[in-house]
């Protein structure tokens, strides 16, 4: 679900970058990037199933 939301947020940011204001595009980019890093850190703290 979080990935669907991220793709949707990026599509909206792209549309704003192409048709809307530059400042809004930058703000949306910042929000999406922080959300991506948070999602990555969430998955990076999963227990690793190592083979040794």
């Amino acid at each position: 679900m979080e990935f669907t939301a991220l793709f949707l947020a990026i599509a909206i940011t792209m549309l704003v970058a192409w048709y809307g204001s530059r400042t809004l595009a930058f703000s949306l980019f910042a929000v999406v990037l922080i959300a991506c890093v948070a999602t990555f850190l969430h998955h990076a703290t999963d227990a690793l199933k190592l083979s040794f």
Partner: protein, 181 residues
């Protein structure tokens, strides 16, 4: 490098990103391999990388636009490095099918590092930033098509991810489309 040349390079970069997202889709549907959460995050970072070129084409080249792409490429490289390290032990078959000897996440890492190097090289050319933003030309048809390719593929990923994960967290090793079972 003039502003016009820089914009042409940015249009080219958008086509390259569109080709990359299309290739990931092709592998997903032809090979029937569903992308894992980290694979999806790498696709997301490639899509996020496209925002810098879109801004460069619309408003003219600026260092801040390249900075956005650099940030996205650095986060993308971190994600793909994480996945490479998950499968680095000898005997580990890796996740998914290998393409020309490397798995997709290894290719993604190479792609993100290439993006960082190319963006740094393009930033060396100061002349592209000299033109006044008001004198920036209107984007042509080729640029419009490139932007809409990338937006279309990102929108297609919204639909595909929704089908794959449904309305809950994506499975670590997805085998079926949650909304189609």
């Amino acid at each position: 490098m003039t502003s016009h040349r820089a914009i042409a390079l940015n249009v080219l970069a958008l086509y390259a990103l569109a080709a990359l997202l299309a290739a990931a889709f092709t592998a997903q549907f032809i090979l029937g391999e569903l992308p894992c959460p980290l694979c999806l995050l790498q696709r997301i970072m490639f899509a996020l990388l496209a925002i810098g070129p879109i801004l460069n084409i619309r408003f003219g080249p600026r260092p801040s636009h390249y900075a956005l792409s650099l940030l996205a490429a650095v986060v993308g490289a971190s994600v793909s490095t994480r996945q490479v390290l998950l499968h680095i032990m000898p005997g580990d078959a890796g996740y998914g099918t290998a393409l020309f000897g490397y798995h997709y996440y290894t290719w993604a890492l190479i792609g993100f590092i290439a993006a960082i190097v190319l963006l740094s090289l393009v930033l060396l050319f100061d002349r592209q930033f000299e033109k006044a933003p008001t004198a920036h030309p209107t984007p042509g048809v080729i640029a419009h098509v490139a932007v809409w390719f990338v937006i279309g593929l990102t929108a297609a990923n919204v639909a595909s991810t929704l089908l794959e994960c449904g309305f809950k967290a994506c499975a670590d090793d997805p085998k079926v489309y949650e909304l189609l079972k």
